[in-house]
Subunit: 542 residues, 2 copies
């Protein structure tokens, strides 16, 4: 069977987008893009890790103070190791990063952005959601008393938008969803009633199916999906019921099946049904850096910021790392330890002088990094709530901004508001990365105004992070393919002498904090076992 | 077409339940039960009401300090009227009521419950959710700075449970939802591919439909819904992907179509798709009485609590109301006003001595009140989160408790937790209302333990409110039928001399705070207009 003709389905379907990503990124990017688009993975986290019996005097150097590095430092010190941490930035957290008013960010190429959001407002350039099955991340949040609040992934009152469908008029999520279900139920109901179903479905089951379709599809008593009381209780009203002697309710008119199919908008109605996006899904109150900051508070005394690692050496006796200040002048410095957990992104690590075996080096150099751009826009008022009754959630569009996401916090507040004015990945991310930050913001406002005309009047300030221009990652996340997984992943995750890697790039849940944390927990458990056996055999042979 | 045989669909479908409610309640209850079960209505609220030009010296007596009465008092005073409010209870809020530790509630029959919930824990015996389209209620919350948080209506990790399906083993919401969609997509995909679809669907649309079904149903490349990468990304894994060298992921096995259809569990997968339950949906932080309490703070000086109205008289010159203390001794007292907004529930009003026209009296006496019972259970720990990773949301069951709802707040907290251990309406509500509070709690624990065995170990304390035994409402909400609406509703909402009624019973959105508020706004606007014309014509004739 052949898929719908792209020419008549102007909004990119997920599959079309994947194919396009494949072409643009040379094929290998596709598997990873699938993750970004909703095919990512659950966690086998089994509870807090306990490392017992750390040999006396053993030291471990952790490179990177993002989620993987912070977890490693926190757990290894608890186990009894001497731990030191180096991080490139002037802050901890890595990609678990929140931009607030007063923050300054200078990207590769020198463009400097000063964030002017009002107090309490923010965007998360990196991760911004925590699924309920990301147990390890949630567990650290709970143990460290980081308050969580629901992330509004699905909002039935947000929009689905295509420039080439319904005259460019945004449709409400509830309408597209109700109408797709209704039409599907009516079509399947008809063939079921006409006994044209697969012979495998018994007569009794056919009757149950009909009943289920009527209920689920909001069909009328004759199994039709039409304007009326049933469909209105899903897709809404033209005139809604009121109190006292207010006007009588009037149901709304469903979209025609053909218009709906041609619009391509159906591709977005499973936005909250994909595994990584199913409710319950959370964000830390106040910004996604909350969990990283809570971990950092626990290990702050171990962490040296502003440290740009330039060389990672190892021998049979230990690890030696040279570093310079990332900002400002200062001499080369050196730190020595018995072991090393390296969480530096592969995009950076591949360019460093690191002493590992040839297969490990090859693995480090074989994982390209995904492109992604996020734009945060501050407006003078929360018009999406006040005018359009959209409280949180995501509007999807075929415009290059790809989506608009409304804040899942501060509902109903007067004053300014910050929304995510674009979250680009794949081809659109490359295009936006090539622009200056100001141009990215300008474009995001221009595109977004096609959905929310209030943008023109209410726009106040914006910031834009293109991950390929972030100096300390040079990309958003490690992009694996099935082929590169098979060839390099076990090597990359193995312990090379006295060095083990960790981070989202060393996990099967790339681009998620959970991948970084699980990778770290797995790496330190294996490293701990190796240390125990190494030290005990050294003692035996001594 | 005939519906599924109830004998083989052991979980009551919504329609079966409605039919049963019809039988039990004498037919008239059905329309109203439909509202409770998810067919209720949206609001035509158009923004804050402004009443201008109140004539000098005119007084209005408001009976009842629930949402309708509080809104009336708040707006009428702002307009310039002299307002007084009487309420039966020792607190304001009416059914916008939250039970917390330290509260005491004595029901009809004398059973007294002392609530022993830990600080910060509560249940809302009455309304507990605010849909995003309940604009009037939300607007008062925003204007009075009542913080809101999302109510978790849908949780893909909560359970759907039937004692007679899957050996009584609860199924996760995500599994039933994914499998229903998957099977429906596969069945419709097959007939589409075989050109057996309705002739009205063009060849091009058939191709688009196939593409949409594959995406939406998580079908594999051959349009089958089977165990594998696609279905796992909706229904989850047996072994989930991890970090480092953790075990490889293993997809889970979909439920067979026939088992799924026979289970009846599909009836619950649209729980969050029905109009009143669609996200965004909210609760005030700290309890549903938050909005009523904010209004009460504004009008506190006007409100006399502990006032049991026994007579409502009117003449051409004004309204006279007699009342006694509801608790404790005290003399009969009288209050006079020019006009009256009466928000006393019809169940109570029908028994009072009230002077209105015969048709109004008949209308007041023609609306029976719905039965509903809620049970709040405190447990020693939040095992639903800790053991089962259910953060908020609702588990549906065919047990008499009908549902278990997990708190949409305090996620991850250690310490005790309170969940809604049963929310009964229709026949089960009558059955539970007949029990003592202790017996209701005992039964709720016994039934709930079939879903959560931890109940046995962790149960601490419970309270149960059966609305037909609440002295000041004698029922949960006004139950209209299509027939009674046609016959009595316009009369009930009309102004009878100097008295107008308001409350959820005088709205098209019964059982919801929005109905009460819209009814109140509509009533006071009409009353204001009548006062203006009455006073101006009195002046002219004077």
């Amino acid at each position: 069977m052949k898929s719908a003709n792209p020419a008549t389905a102007p909004t990119l379907t997920r599959r079309e987008l994947l194919a396009l990503v494949g072409k643009v990124s040379g094929g290998g990017a596709m598997y990873q893009a699938m993750t970004t688009l909703g095919f990512a993975k659950e966690s086998p986290y089994q509870g807090a890790v306990t490392l017992e019996g750390a040999p006396k005097g053993q030291s471990i150097l952790v490179l990177g103070a993002g989620m993987a590095g912070l977890v490693a430092a926190y757990e290894l010190r608890k186990a009894g190791y001497h731990v030191q941490v180096l991080d490139f930035n002037q802050r901890a957290g890595g990609r678990a990063w929140t931009l607030r008013g007063g923050d300054v960010f200078t990207e590769l190429g020198g463009a400097r952005q000063e964030v002017k959001f009002d107090p309490g407002l923010y965007i998360n350039p990196g991760p911004w959601r925590i699924p309920h099955h990301h147990h390890a991340v949630l567990d650290y949040a709970h143990r460290l008393n980081v308050p969580l609040e629901p992330f509004m992934m699905v909002n039935y009152n947000s929009y689905l938008h295509s420039t080439s469908a319904f005259g460019g008029k945004p449709q409400r999520f509830k309408q597209v969803t109700a109408d797709f279900q209704g039409h599907v139920a009516e079509l399947l109901g008809k063939v079921t009633a006409q006994n044209q179903l697969d012979a495998g479905v018994t007569k009794d089951d056919q009757e149950r199916l009909l009943e289920a379709l009527r209920d689920w599809g909001a069909l009328d008593k004759d199994y039709r999906y039409v304007k009326g009381a049933s469909s209105a209780e899903r897709r809404g009203y033209d005139v809604a019921p009121g109190g006292g002697l207010m006007p009588k309710a009037v149901p709304s008119q469903p979209l025609a099946l053909s218009d709906l199919l041609q619009s391509g908008l159906w591709q977005h109605i499973t936005a909250g049904a994909d595994y990584e996006y199913q409710q319950a899904i959370f964000q830390p109150v106040g910004g996604m850096d909350g969990i990283a900051m809570a971990l950092y508070r626990e290990v702050k005394d171990l962490v040296r910021l502003n440290a740009k690692v330039v060389r990672i050496d190892q021998s049979e006796r230990g690890v030696t790392v040279d570093y310079l200040p990332s900002q400002g002048p200062g001499p080369m410095q050196q730190v020595k330890a018995d072991w090393c957990v390296c969480t530096i992104p592969l995009s950076i690590l591949a360019q460093l002088d690191i002493r590992v075996q040839a297969p490990m080096l090859e693995a480090i150099q074989s994982v390209p990094y995904g492109a992604s751009v996020k734009v945060g826009l501050q407006f003078n008022r929360r018009f999406w709530e006040q005018d359009e009754r959209i409280y949180g959630g995501v509007t999807f569009t075929n415009l290059p901004i790809q989506m608009v996401s409304y804040p899942s916090t501060g509902y109903g507040h007067r004053g300014k508001g910050v929304l995510l004015g674009g979250y680009m990945f794949g081809p659109h991310a490359y295009e936006f990365t090539a622009m200056s930050p100001a141009e990215r913001v300008r474009k995001a406002v221009e595109y977004g105004a096609q959905i929310h005309p209030q943008y023109h009047q209410e726009f106040d300030h914006g910031v834009a992070v293109g991950w390929h221009r972030v100096p300390w990652t040079l990309g958003c996340y490690g992009m694996w393919t099935e082929e590169s997984r098979a060839k390099y992943y076990p090597t990359l995750c193995g312990i090379d002498g006295r060095i083990v890697l960790a981070g989202e790039h060393a996990s099967m849940i790339p681009a998620w904090q959970e991948g970084a944390v699980l990778s770290s927990l797995d790496a330190i458990q294996r490293l701990h076992a190796k240390i125990l056996s190494t030290v005990s055999s050294a003692r035996t042979s001594a």
